[in-house]
């Protein structure tokens, strides 16, 4: 097992990893930027190392400085968390070249699944249903038009290197397609320095359901069942739950089996997520793989009682999983609400500043993951996730009632947050009925 881990991340996920290391009795060093200096979670690490200025480009994205920090900290592994360099295969290789294990999958699997086009071909080989569309990147607009007419409009345009909805466009006809392609390439170039895009059939009113995968370096792969992340706004997840209220046992089983097949086909060997779209008739289509731990991983931890971060670290250290699929027995219903410092009344504009009042809920069935506290200064440099509020109860209705009372207890001032929005969500009849799709928020609010 590792002796000392360097955390190459910040905020709540850095704190989450510190907690896992403490419980595994592994020493932990954490990097920080000038803007994160003095954050309370850093006091919980054995060592905190300043690596640069506030802007991520000057700190959390500077791979050389992260590795140099691991060297001075004498860390034998780096945990990348999510975002920043978590899905950067070159960084993973660089770490390992310096004899510092990258806590994540092997670089080949990262590359294979990180690029959506090649991920689609893996899925095809593994006989996992995919959305009809261009196999790989589009050569030119003519090919796009031919293909779109073959698939049938409307079609979805996506960035090959994309994520979080950037570089995504829906085109309803040929002229629409041509202009959208231009914009999508532009966005993709700005966001990922890679303008290549592909198109696929547009699925109307789909649900977003993803399967948590856990694999080790010995070829063992299990799934930790699904998370339903249908409640999104502009492809940003707001609420996640497990089990999904919208799929039956048979769909659940084939969905999870498909995810495992795909992971095995890619020789995946860490924690990861296989994302699917599920249409109104319960048909599911593979969309992409996230080769990292995700923000919403605690949802699966609650229903399976498996600590994903610990398991991910053990796998990276070369330990076998130590349990089989049959030993994963989900129990109860878990829901996560993301409390972001965003103003729901102003198009979810991010808010920064000092948190003066911060009262978190507690009591039975409640879990809170947050790096916030009274006096915490939220920097405009980073994403606006301030807290993850989770509940675990025997049934979905009980979980929702528990979430309602917990949201009522949560007080954050003076920053505007998504709390009022989430309170509305948890009382919305369509959510209570589990009768929503990924477009629900845009249509209803």
């Amino acid at each position: 097992m590792f002796r000392r881990i360097l955390i190459a991340n910040r905020g709540e996920i850095a704190l989450r990893i510190i907690r896992a290391c403490r419980e595994l009795n592994i020493e932990v060093a954490c990097v920080f930027s000038e803007d994160d200096r003095g954050s309370a979670y850093l006091e919980l690490a054995d060592q905190a190392i300043c690596i640069g200025g506030a802007s991520p480009k000057e700190s959390y994205l500077k791979s050389d400085r992260l590795i140099a920090a691991a060297e001075v900290a004498k860390a034998d592994a780096i945990h990348p968390g999510y975002g920043f360099l978590a899905e950067n295969a070159a960084f993973a290789e660089k770490c390992r070249a310096c004899n510092i294990e990258f806590i994540g999958p092997n670089a080949a699997a990262m590359r294979l699944l990180g690029d959506k086009a090649s991920a689609r071909s893996v899925a095809k080989r593994a006989k996992v249903a995919i959305i009809p569309g261009s196999d790989g990147v589009l050569e030119d607009d003519n090919e796009a038009v031919r293909l779109a007419e073959k698939i049938g409009f409307p079609v979805m345009i996506k960035a090959a290197a994309g994520g979080g909805g950037r570089g995504m466009r829906v085109a309803y006809d040929k002229t629409d397609l041509l202009s959208s392609l231009k914009q999508a390439r532009q966005e993709a170039d700005n966001a990922f320095k890679d303008s290549s895009v592909y198109i696929e059939r547009y699925i109307d009113r789909p649900r977003h359901v993803e399967v948590q995968i856990l694999a080790d370096r010995h070829g063992n792969v299990v799934h930790l069942y699904e998370r339903d992340c249908t409640l999104q706004r502009r492809h940003q997840k707001l609420v996640e739950e497990s089990p999904s209220p919208a799929i039956d046992t048979r769909t659940r089983e084939s969905l999870c089996a498909a995810a495992v097949k795909l992971a095995k086909a890619a020789r995946y060997d860490s924690a990861g997520t296989v994302e699917f779209l599920v249409d109104s008739r319960g048909r599911f289509y593979f969309i992409e793989v996230n080769t990292r731990i995700q923000v919403e991983h605690p949802v699966s931890e609650l229903v399976t009682r498996i600590d994903l971060i610990k398991a991910q670290i053990r796998a990276a250290a070369g330990e076998p999983l130590g349990f089989v699929q049959k030993a994963v027995r989900p129990a109860g219903h878990a829901i996560e609400c993301r409390i972001n410092a965003e103003d729901p009344d102003e198009k979810f504009r991010p808010c920064a500043g000092v948190v003066e009042k911060f009262r978190v809920p507690g009591g039975p069935g409640v879990r809170v993951d947050t790096h916030g506290y009274e006096g915490y200064r939220l920097s405009p440099q980073y994403d606006s996730l301030l807290a993850k509020l989770l509940v675990h109860q025997p049934t979905r209705p009980e979980a929702i009632r528990c979430m309602q009372r917990a949201l009522r207890e949560f007080h954050i001032e003076p920053l505007r947050t998504t709390l009022p929005f989430l309170r509305k969500m948890m009382a919305h009849p369509d959510f209570l009925d589990g009768n929503i799709d990924t477009g629900f928020v845009e249509r209803s609010f």
Partner: protein, 155 residues
């Protein structure tokens, strides 16, 4: 009465830089702004250097890493700070004498130390003129970004 827009700009600067007081006087015109001392005044973020440029080679600004030294320094001395994370070496190799020590005179181009990271050694230049007042880091010690390495009395 000064232009409201100017005042708005002042306030924005104040908030974004997290100042608690700002007062400007220009002949007849005078503006004073005050904000509450943040609750978490124990939280260390007040120590964040005011600049956030890519790489602070030096400067009299109160740098978080250096604590009281800096306060004292802020009065008259100038710091040479680490532009990177790595290991500090005061001499080119174990046999040679240190590049500089207390009392050494330095010019902008004077190499004051080397920093090693990922087997790469980088020479660090003083980038200021004066006399080394104090060496703040021991040979072979690890240094973090922005950490003061030397105090220099400007000439």
């Amino acid at each position: 009465m000064p232009d409201i827009d100017q005042i708005r700009q002042l306030i924005e600067m104040m908030v974004s830089n997290d100042l608690v007081e700002l007062s400007v006087r220009d002949g007849e015109t005078e503006v004073t702004l005050r904000r509450p001392n943040p609750k978490g005044s124990e939280t260390v973020f007040h120590a964040i250097p005011s600049y956030s440029g890519p790489m602070p080679a030096m400067g009299p600004s109160g740098g978080g890493a250096a604590g009281s030294t800096v306060e004292e320094a802020a009065t008259e001395l100038v710091e040479i700070r680490s532009p990177m994370v790595g290991t500090f070496y005061s001499a080119p190799d174990p046999e040679s004498p240190p590049f500089v020590q207390a009392g050494s005179h330095v010019g902008p181009a004077t190499v004051v130390c080397v920093l090693e990271a990922m087997k790469v050694f980088s020479e660090i230049k003083a980038e200021t003129s004066g006399t080394i007042e104090r060496v703040l880091v021991g040979n072979g010690e690890a240094v973090e970004y922005g950490q003061p390495l030397f105090l220099v009395k400007p000439s």
